[in-house]
Every structure is written in C-alpha cells, then in structure tokens.
C-alpha cells in the first residue's frame, strides 16, 4: 500500500512539473503548446541515453535533459511565436508527433519501439520501500523548486510583462517591451521544465518506449491546468491531483461495473476527460483556483 501510494505520488509529482511548465506558457503568457509531451519525451530519452550508453552520472543526465528540451523549443518559438498563437499550437502538435516518429524510426539511437531499458534509478541500492520514498522526496524537491521558481518568475518584472502580453499584446509592445523575446523565453523555460519531468520519469520507470509519449499526455496536462486554474500555480497542482485521483479512481470502477470491457472503460475515461475540458471552459473558465477569466 505504501509502495502504491508512493508510486502514485511520484507520478503525480512528475505531472505537476509538466503542469507548472505549461502554466508558465499558457497561464502566464497565453501560448498554446499542444506538444508538451514532445519536450517530456526529449528529456526522458536524453537522460536515458546519456546514463545508459555513455554512463554519465544521473545528475548530469538530468541537467542535459533540461537543457536539450529547452533548446529544442527555441527554433519552434522562432517559427511561430510572432504569429497568432493558433500557429504555435499546430507547430507544437506537429513537433511532438515528429519526435515520436524519430523515436520509432532511429533504431540505432533509440532502439525503436523496443525502447531503452535498464535506466538507472537514483537510490536504487536502498531496500525497496525506502528507495521509493527517497525518490518521492527527490521528485517533490524538484517540483517544489519548479513551483518556487515559476512563482518567483511570475512576480518578477519578467512575469508581469508576460501577463501584460497575455492581456494585451499591442499595449505591451507600445510600452517598449520586445514581445517576441519574452514569449520565446517563457516557452523555452516551460519546455525545459517538461524536460526535467521527462528525466525524472525515465529514471523512475527504468525504461522508455515511444508509446509512453502519445499526444494524450499533453492533453492530460492541459486538462489539469484548465481544471486547476490557468495562471495559478497552486491551482494547477490541485488540478493535477484531482485529475490523477480521477484517472486512478476510475481504474477501480471496473469492480463496480463488471459488464463493461476494459477497452470500453478506458474509452469512457477519455470521453470524461474530453467532456470535462469542454465543460470547464464553458462554465468555469477560471478553473478551481484561477485568478481571472481566460
């Protein structure tokens, strides 16, 4: 039970990181990133490859994951950030699908659909139970640091400029703010946070396959952010926890509805997430804890 709880909390912590990254991009800046899972995947594979193939120490792999995920966001930002934000949505969605195609195809590097395994886990030498708890502490530490950083960023002049851009781009520009540069920086930092989440994920699960990085992951994170409240860091963490509770809880629903097959139950769960997203946008756009209307 403790192990199960620890596993759930670790995954929740990783999703919180993803949500914080997206909150910086969407909640603070109004950027639509539909390819969050692409940066998550880059982080996961970077750290996995460096620590298994080149025997880098795990912290170095983690740092490389963060940097590479952030760096890969930069050219995407250059392509589309000057345009309507809809274009960034399409570009990032395409990007995450391309990342997955690369992971499947470039077998010499990623071993294709077979994936990479035997990724080392920090604290793996500790006895089972204790090792999970140590890892949980690490994940919570990283999420806490990200939470603190995004909050500090949000309250700094940088963050206030981002909010000004979200509210009224022309006004921000006329005040002499270089809008594109602010947007790109916000986008890159958010992607780097997703990369960090990817590294934590890879070292926890111990193997990575392209199947883990479907666009669905991105939309889970969106659901968490919209539900919790765009722009509120506490809100998106709450949103993530509610979503995780729902996803986990609905697994047990099978015990109560025996006549529905697994496939149908999974489909129902996704339908509920989609419908939930629509309903929140329609009737409570500020989410649970959001500060204002989007």
């Amino acid at each position: 039970m403790t192990a199960y709880l620890a596993a759930m909390l670790i995954l929740a912590g990783i999703y919180c990181l993803l949500a914080l990254g997206l909150n910086l991009q969407w909640g603070y800046t109004g950027l639509i990133n539909f390819g969050h899972v692409g940066f998550f995947a880059i982080g996961a594979y970077t750290s996995a490859l460096l620590t298994t193939q080149l025997a880098w120490p795990i912290p170095a792999g983690f740092l490389a994951a963060l940097i590479l995920a952030g760096a890969s966001a930069y050219p995407l930002g250059l392509v589309s950030i000057r345009l309507r934000t809809d274009y960034l949505a399409i570009v990032t969605l395409g990007f995450s699908e391309v990342v997955r195609a690369v992971l499947v195809n470039e077998r010499w590097l990623t071993k294709g659909t077979q994936g990479l395994s035997y990724i080392p886990r920090p604290f793996g030498q500790l006895p089972t139970g204790l090792s999970e708890i140590a890892y949980l502490a690490l994940v919570l530490g990283v999420s806490g640091a990200a939470f603190w950083m995004v909050r500090r960023l949000g309250r700094s002049p940088f963050g206030r400029t981002l909010e000004a851009i979200r509210e009224n781009e022309e006004a921000a520009q006329s005040l002499g703010k270089y809008v594109a540069s602010f947007k790109i920086r916000s986008f890159v930092i958010g992607a780097a946070i997703a990369g960090a989440a990817g590294a934590l994920y890879a070292h926890y699960i111990n193997y990575v396959v392209p199947e883990q990085f479907l666009p669905l992951v991105t939309f889970y994170v969106w659901m968490a952010v919209i539900l919790g409240g765009s722009g509120s860091n506490r809100g998106v963490i709450l949103g993530t926890l509610v979503l995780m509770l729902f996803l986990e809880g609905s697994r047990f629903a099978k015990d109560f509805i025996p006549f529905v097959s697994d496939v149908k139950l999974a489909a129902l769960r996704f339908m509920a997430v989609g419908l939930g997203l629509i309903l929140v946008l329609l009737y409570r756009p500020q989410g649970i804890l959001g500060r204002k209307d989007i």
Partner: protein, 288 residues
C-alpha cells in the same frame, strides 16, 4: 515509373486531403480558430457510412449520405453547444475546447465500435494498366467525387447568396454584421459545409484503406499543412495546398520511411510559417 505511379497516387490522395483542408480552412476563415476536432469528424463520417452499409443495409450512395448526415449532426451539436457559446471569447479558448471535442468524439467512436478495423467490402475491380501505370477504377471514382465536391463548394461560394455572405463574414465580421447579414446563420451554413466535406473526406479515406478510430486524427496534421500552405482561411488555397501536399508526400515516401510522413507535413508547416506565413494565396491579416 515509380515516380509516375507515386504521382498518380498523390493526385488521388491530394484530392481527398483537399476536401479535409477545405473544411478546416472554412472554419478558420469564418469562426477564426483552427478546429482540432476536424480530423475526428472525418472518422465519424467513415463510421457513419459503415453503420449505414452493414447495420441498416443501405445501398452505397445512401450509406454515404448517412455518413455525411451523422457527421453534420454531431458537428452542428458541438457548434451549438460549444463553439457558439465561446464565440465572444479569445479564439484560443475555442481551439482548446476543440481538443476536448476531439478526445470525446474519438473515444465515443471507440466506445461504440471498439478498436477493430473494418472495411466497406466495396467491389474489387481489376486495376487498369495505362502504359505501365496501375490505376484502380475505384480510385478514379474517389477522385471524381472529391473534384465534384470541391466544384460544388466553389459554385456555392461564388454564385449563391449564402456563399457571398460567407465571404463577406470571412473578410470582415463587423462590416458584414452592420450591412445586415445574420452572422449566426452564416456560421451555421459554414459548419454544415465544413462538416459535409469532413464526412465525405472520411468516407473516401476509409474506402481507400480501412475504417479505424485514428483515421481522421492521423490526417489532421497533413490537412493543417495543406491549409497553411495555401493560406489559412483561403478556400482556394486549401484546395491547392491539398493537391501539393498529397502529391509531394507520395513522392517523398519514395525516399523516406512511411512513418516519417508526419515529419513531412511538419517541415512544410515550419517552412511556410518562416517564409510566407500567409501561404500561397492567403491574406496577411489572418496571420497575426
């Protein structure tokens, strides 16, 4: 010879892609957001026709009509209950809601029909050989249907009253409104056309391959690429973009792996946005 064969396939593929991109671009031109659920509307059309053929026992033409009607019904419901209510808000909200709709529709399809693949069991005709080229008679039929549908949309936009109103709203919603055009009706008409095109494209796509839950989602990105290449919001641009992407995609597959098709669309989107974001014949003011 491979090149010519790929060209022939590309023209047919491109005509179907043009239908999908045309539907997307109409929504973008008038409702002003990229509809991420468009791909899954294609899937609904494909399943609607399968349902008509195999459960209602309809003849093929009626089954096609059934597929299109089901798509239009589903899409119009989402228009009335979601997009219409979000119309006053930032376009980003509609875009995010459309992702929710995409998830919902795709998994509703899986909930009802499962993840198995189906086929329409259309008659299998022997391929014609034209100077070494293999051409399936059914492919020619699909091509003619798409061209007819595109021509119908062209006539509708160019020569009918509602078409003129649609173009007016697309050019300037405010001016259209003050000149007495009922913008709500124009939106409804636009959705009907876009959804019919989506349904038809899904049916054609499924006829060439199989009916499966990811049919439409998988073509969403190429359709976006086609619409953006032509100029997002421009109907004629979308047709052109569809043809160009369909053909070049088939040619590209001669050199790159099939699974990199998606990368091909991505590269086209990126290059167009860098060099000429308003596309071949789009309007600049829709880009920013």
């Amino acid at each position: 010879m491979h090149v010519l064969q790929a060209l022939a396939n590309g023209i047919i593929e491109g005509s179907i892609l043009a239908l999908a991109a045309l539907g997307l671009t109409l929504v973008f031109g008038i409702a002003r957001f990229p509809n991420a659920a468009h791909g899954d509307y294609l899937t609904v059309g494909a399943y609607g026709t399968f349902f008509g053929l195999h459960f209602l026992g309809l003849p093929l033409t009626l089954a096609v009509v059934c597929g299109i009607l089901v798509t239009a019904l589903v899409g119009v419901l989402f228009y009335i209950f979601v997009f219409k209510k979000l119309a006053g808000r930032h376009s980003a909200v509609s875009l995010i809601a459309s992702v929710g709709i995409a998830l919902f529709v795709r998994h509703a399809v899986i909930f009802i029909a499962g993840t198995d693949q189906y086929t329409y069991h259309l008659p299998i005709l022997r391929a014609w050989r034209v100077g070494g080229l293999k051409i399936l008679p059914m492919d020619l039929a699909y091509f003619s249907v798409s061209v007819a549908a595109i021509a119908a949309v062209h006539l509708l936009l160019r020569y009918t009253d509602i078409g003129r109103r649609m173009r007016a709203v697309s050019d300037s919603p405010q001016l259209a409104r003050v000149s007495g055009i009922r913008v709500g009706r124009v939106h409804l008409a636009m959705w009907m056309i876009s959804l019919s095109l989506a349904g038809l494209a899904g049916i054609l796509l499924a006829s060439r391959t199989v009916v499966s839950p990811y049919l439409g989602w998988d073509i969403l990105l190429p359709a976006f690429a086609a619409a953006i290449l032509g100029g997002f919001g421009s109907p004629y641009g979308a047709i052109l973009g569809g043809a160009v992407i369909g053909i070049s995609q088939e040619l590209a597959v001669l050199f790159i792996s099939e699974t990199y098709k998606v990368a091909f669309s991505f590269v086209i989107i990126a290059v167009v946005l860098l060099v000429r974001p308003w596309g071949i014949i789009g309007r600049k003011e829709l880009v920013r």
